[in-house]
Amino acid sequence: MSELDSHDVAIRCENLTVTYGAEPVLWNVDAEIPRRGITGIIGPNGAGKSTLIKSVLGIVPVTAGDTQVLGSHGGPLQGDTIGYVPQRSTVDWDFPTSVFDVVMMGTYGKLRWFQRPGKLQRDETHRALEFVGMEAFGKRQISELSGGQQQRVFLARAFVQEPSVYLMDEPFAGVDAKSESSLFEILRKLSDEGATVVMVHHDLIRARDYFDYVLLLNRRLIAQGTTEDALTPANLEKCYGLESDSILIEAKH
């Protein structure tokens, strides 16, 4: 496994342990995610992938260990450090609001508590909608969107923050194949422009095409490294257990 130079590291976890009640969800995870490129956090259901992201964001209590983002330790993050794209299913899509308003929420981090978004924020919102190809949907109710469109809206909301790191939780869950590939094109564009894109992904199909770098996680860190080095049949078997034969075959394609 290659050791990264410290200024090439976007996210570092040191001995990270997170427990819910008495149950450990993450156990002693030492991981490094490089700057730039697209990194996949891969592992079976219940492997602690979302928890890893949330501990980096500082929104779940960490039992032991430490996380750093671009060299600064855990604690209140600046709005422009991380653009968080939560799982679509965590919000109520029947909430009475428009696509434009949701995307504009990305600007709230820079506003004081009594401030309302103004022209600057609206312009940024328009740009973000354009970037994800949703400019025609600004006035649409969020309840009228398809899964892929919802995901683009969330991505645009993170884009408005102009973050250096995108942390995405299962962006392709429940999204049809066509939307998935056009979403991925957008992510590739972000990464080409210098952003670090990190996503939780539980589907091994196409992982080889998508990621420059992978973390294999199952409560413990199983492997990390370039996709070439780390996404090996042996590591996958260690990560997914005995039933992984079919997954391996698919992953080899």
Partner: protein
């Protein structure tokens, strides 16, 4: 007596104005409880507030030797007890394996149980505490007992709640829609959450005098649920819910003063419930009729 004569009557004017302000404030705050899927906290807070009301009454009696039932004394007690019940619920959920609904139920039992016990004790104890009669009106509400001083208290608290709501609007909106994302933005979600809960608790305890602890939840939830049927933006939903709550409560005050022995609280509750039923049936797109017609169209096509 016609309506204009009625409204020139001082007592009636106080009741109608007070009820309308209460309806507007609890209607507005109810939207946040409704959208957070926490409508039932209305029931827990209002019942828990009874303990705060009788405690405040008791403490003031012990300090001054006089019973005082004005809102200036009782509302802070109600507010503290109501907020305490919610914050305790949160810490129970976080530190035990109890789920939120069970924890809320436990808090309601503890606070309301002790409130009822203390209420009965104060009412039956001897020597009798001066001013204690009427303390139990908070169970079912008694708008007619509203005084001018109460009206001021309601006005000041209500205006305060609505002012904080509009100032912190963006923050309250984002933590209602997506708390994890708000935390990821670096916002102080825990603090904002307490502020929002405090505003909702104010919106509840402000109305106890007219609706009582038993019926208060309908004044909180029905306007919000009705408004949701007709609008598609949070701002319009809050305005509409405040209007529905305010007009229904004011109208309830008028109706109860026309008829003899008609209780204000239950009339207001029936009015907001009527608005809710009409909204669920008739609203465009979300309403029952509209959805039934669309369903039939698809069938015919």
């Amino acid at each position: 007596m016609n309506v204009s004569e009625l409204l020139s009557d001082h007592t009636v004017r106080v009741v109608v104005l007070g009820s309308a302000m209460i309806g507007a404030v609890s209607g507005a705050m109810g939207c946040f409880a409704y959208l957070r899927r926490q409508s039932l906290i209305g029931d827990v807070v209002s019942h828990s507030a009874l303990l705060g009301i009788v405690m405040a009454f008791w403490i003031v009696y012990l300090l001054t030797g006089q019973g005082n039932r004005s809102l200036v004394v009782l509302m802070p007690g109600a507010f503290l007890a109501g907020l305490a019940s919610l914050l305790l619920t949160r810490s129970v959920v976080r530190s035990t394996r109890l789920k939120e609904d069970a924890s809320l139920g436990v808090m309601l039992a503890i606070f309301f149980g002790s409130g009822m016990m203390l209420l009965r004790y104060l009412q039956r104890g001897s020597p009798p505490i001066p001013g204690r009669s009427g303390l139990d009106q908070y169970l079912f509400g008694m708008a007619a007992a509203m005084t001018r001083a109460d009206l001021w208290m309601i006005g000041v608290v209500g205006a305060g709640v609505l002012t904080v709501m509009s100032l912190a609007w963006s923050r309250l909106k984002i933590i209602t829609f997506d708390q994890d994302y708000a935390a990821g933005l670096g916002l102080r979600v825990d603090l904002l959450e307490v502020v929002l809960l405090a505003l909702i608790v104010m919106g509840i305890v402000i109305g106890l005098q007219i609706a009582g602890v038993v019926l208060m939840i309908s004044l909180l939830v029905a306007p919000a649920a009705s408004a949701r049927q007709w609008t598609y933006s949070l701002g319009r939903m809050v305005c509409l819910a405040a209007t529905i709550g305010g007009v229904s409560a004011g109208l309830g005050g008028v109706i109860s003063s026309i008829g003899r022995s008609l209780p204000t609280g239950p009339i207001i509750v029936l009015l907001v419930t009527l608005v809710f039923v009409v909204s669920v049936v008739c609203a465009p797109r979300r309403g029952f009729i509209s959805r039934w017609q669309r369903g039939r169209q698809i069938h015919v096509d």
